[in-house]
């Protein structure tokens, strides 16, 4: 931790963490509740991106169906709540567990494939779940369902926006701590080794498939957690939360932030949301009414990042690719 203070990345992380912790106080002081809502969304998406980063960044497994775990976590909260099971102590573990189980099942089938075949098979499975959601008429089908937030009696009231934000932020901290440990563990080492050359890792005697499946399952569970949080943030669930566009957004975020880095998913999410929120007003400043066409600028920005910002935003903060507070 002391070590971290000496690097540029460490300073940035600490400064931003301080800012993030103070955000609810700032938004209250300046009467900008909307920023807190965006902040919460950024934190939740960061958790989802970090969970994808575990398999995509460290393991090289490009899952094009990660938003499905938003849906599974969210629907667990929504469906249980709809039937009167409102306790978060039940809802949250069920959401995370369901996501983990589904991840283990599709991982067992998908991980037999490589490259683009893997991309497409994960997409196919997520589309299956998406259309199941569209068909769930009891839970609003594609219209979605307004739900009430999970209850933790005596502990925390999730309707308190600031408290909920801090809870999400704490969970994000835990997830990031976990990915730093993960990256530098024996487990992470095998995974990264298999990313660059899985034949060699296999011939060294590592059961690569089982390592990958375990990583895929953990990633799914954390993805489920982000879904649980998202449902509680929106008080609404719908199949749209697991559409393939959302999966694509998550990939963009991870690549944008810097794959296989601890904080990359956070940078990526912040950049993605800041661009989305600010491009329109900024363009409007130059010429009123043109802000609507912000995607004509956003598209080329993505192209430029892909072409020239190798290593994503995290690489702008200095060389160490595996970064973070670990001991690597």
């Amino acid at each position: 931790m002391i070590q971290a203070l000496r690097t540029r990345r460490g300073l940035v992380v600490i400064a931003l963490a301080a800012l993030a912790i103070a955000l609810p106080l700032l938004t209250q002081a300046f009467d900008q509740r909307y920023l807190l809502s965006i902040g919460t969304r950024v934190v939740i998406w960061s958790i989802a991106a970090a969970s994808l980063n575990l398999i995509l960044g460290y393991g090289g497994m490009v899952s094009f169906g990660h938003a499905v775990f938003f849906g599974i976590g969210g629907y667990a909260v929504g469906i249980l709540g709809h039937h009167g099971v409102v306790l978060g102590w039940v809802q949250w573990p069920v959401g995370v567990l369901a996501a983990a189980l589904w991840a283990a099942a599709i991982g067992a089938l998908s991980l037999r494939t490589r490259g683009v075949y893997f991309i497409m098979i994960t997409l196919a499975f997520s589309q299956l779940v998406y259309y199941v959601g569209v068909g769930l008429e009891a839970y609003g089908a594609d219209d979605g369902l307004n739900i009430s937030r999970s209850r933790f009696p005596g502990l925390i009231d999730l309707r308190d926006r600031a408290a909920f934000y801090w809870l999400c932020l704490a969970l994000l901290g835990l997830v990031l701590w976990f990915s730093a440990r993960f990256a530098n563990s024996h487990f992470g080492f095998v995974l990264r080794g298999a990313k660059s050359n899985d034949v060699r890792m296999a011939s060294l005697g590592f059961p690569v498939f089982r390592y990958r499946l375990a990583a895929f399952t953990i990633s799914g569970a954390l993805g489920g957690l982000s879904g649980v949080l998202l449902a509680n943030h929106d008080a609404y669930i719908s199949p749209a939360m697991m559409s393939w566009v959302k999966s694509g957004d998550l990939i963009v975020i991870v690549v944008l932030g810097g794959m296989g880095t601890v904080f990359g998913p956070v940078w990526g999410t912040v950049a993605f949301f800041v661009l989305e929120e600010s491009l329109k007003p900024v363009i409007d400043l130059f010429r009123k009414g043109w802000g609507e066409y912000w995607q004509i600028v956003f598209g080329p920005i993505l192209i430029l990042i892909a072409l020239y910002a190798k290593g994503g935003i995290d690489s702008l903060l200095g060389g160490r690719r595996d970064g973070g507070g670990g001991h690597g």
Binding site: R8, L11, V12, I14, A15, L16, A18, L19, L23, L26, T27, F30, D31, Q32, R33, Y34, L35, S37, I38, R41, V134, E137, G140, A141, D142, D143, G144, N146, D234, A235, Y236, S238, A240, M241, V245, V274, E277, S278, E292, Q295, L317
Partner: protein, 392 residues
């Protein structure tokens, strides 16, 4: 350290740059619709109509300036919710209106009506839940409930003694609502029913072959927007138009007609508003819209126009003082304004009690495609869900 400072400055700039909530010298109306992607044409029509309404009001209501703030929902519920939150929390609007899509509306509903205690006026979406158990004192509609329009169409076909119908719609909530709606009033034989893949089905060849084999007297479809264009085109190309009559809801309108062209000629549809309804407000609206944009307005536009006029009527009655929400709601509830559909009243669930008309796709004097009223299907219709609404 400079990065940290930069971050702090950015956030602070965002916070201050946004809006300094001044004392209310204007009436702020947030407008959520789709302004990007394939459905942007609908949003454009609604925006043009809302702006025209403000123009017709001279930019003022109740002695205060009207300010419209448009936000794009990108046809995604979560984005729509986020933008709704921005409108109520940051811009502190007095009203939020617009909303094309049921799922965007449902996602945004609580954030506006409950958490921000702000009045929401839907200018299109009308899912059954909100007409029934989810009804809310802060929710008003200037459109309809999903079931009503197909019920009007079904009633007309029933009255005309149509024997058999083939039903088609997209396989999603509104699609199922529409088919359920027509079944409520049409009691003849249903020769077949297809719920097609939604929204990614582009080709209807298999279903059209089934229709040909089933030989119904008519086909009833619900395919809004671009899907309506595709369906009508493929229906005619398959040579079915001369054999089977096409009835529709929300599938042939001012936005799709330029693309459907003569293929749509003669098809019948139901709607609560038609551009040739003979009242002064409507004549002015349609004439000025056409003068400005050289196009007919659509029902989406008419509903948006009405929602602005409804707000203005309440502001006018209260002389611009919108602080007391109870009084605002009471004024809105009177629907005391000249609607382009020719007057309506609000039911207990704040949905309109209104007439539905049958319209036919025709060519106007200049050879331009449009629709004209040919009959009244139902007068003073109430939606079938209002009794489930606890408000009295």
């Amino acid at each position: 350290m400079k990065y940290g400072i930069l971050g702090a400055v950015t956030i602070a700039a965002m916070a201050f740059g946004a809006s300094g909530a001044l004392a209310q010298s204007t009436i702020k109306i947030g407008f959520i619709s789709t302004f990007s992607g394939p459905q942007a044409a609908i949003g454009q029509d609604m925006r043009r109509s809302a702006e025209l309404a403000v123009e017709h009001l001279g930019g003022m209501a109740g002695g205060k300036k009207i300010e419209l703030i448009f936000e794009d929902d990108q046809f995604k519920p979560d984005v729509g919710k986020q933008k709704s939150e921005k409108l109520v929390q940051q811009d502190k609007v007095n009203f939020v209106t617009g909303y094309i899509w049921s799922n965007v509306l449902l996602a945004s509903l609580k954030a506006v009506t409950d958490e921000a205690d702000t009045i929401l006026i839907s200018a299109n979406a009308g899912p059954s839940q909100i007409a029934g158990e989810l009804c809310h004192k802060n929710f008003f509609s200037t459109s309809w409930n999903n079931d009503q329009t197909p019920m009007a169409m079904g009633q007309y076909l029933q009255d005309r003694g149509v024997k058999s119908l083939y039903l088609m719609a997209g396989n999603y909530a509104a699609g199922k609502d529409m088919l359920a709606g027509v079944r409520r009033t049409f009691k003849g034989q249903v020769a077949g029913e297809d719920l097609t893949k939604w929204p990614d089905q582009l080709d209807f060849s298999a279903e059209l072959a089934k229709i040909r084999a089933a030989k119904p007297e008519g086909v009833f479809v619900f395919y809004p927007g671009a899907h309506g264009v595709q369906f009508v085109r493929q229906f005619v190309q398959a040579g079915l138009k001369d054999q089977i009559k096409l009835y529709q809801v929300f599938s042939i309108d001012a936005i799709t007609l330029p693309q459907q062209g003569e293929l749509a000629l003669g098809s019948l549809g139901a709607q609560q508003w038609v551009n040739d309804l003979p009242n002064d407000a409507n004549k002015r609206y349609v004439a000025d819209f056409r003068k400005k944009h050289n196009d007919y307005p659509s029902y989406y536009g008419a509903q948006a126009y009405d929602s602005i006029m409804l707000i203005a009527s309440a502001a006018e009655a209260l002389k611009g003082d919108l602080a007391n929400k109870d009084r605002v709601r009471a004024e809105l509830k009177k629907a005391n304004f000249k609607s382009v559909r020719g007057g309506f009243s609000f039911n207990t669930n704040n949905f309109p009690i209104q007439n539905f008309y049958i319209q036919e796709a025709v060519k106007d004097a200049d050879g331009k495609m449009t629709v004209k009223t040919i009959a009244t299907a139902i007068s003073k219709a109430k939606d079938p869900h209002f009794e489930k609404c606890p408000m009295k």
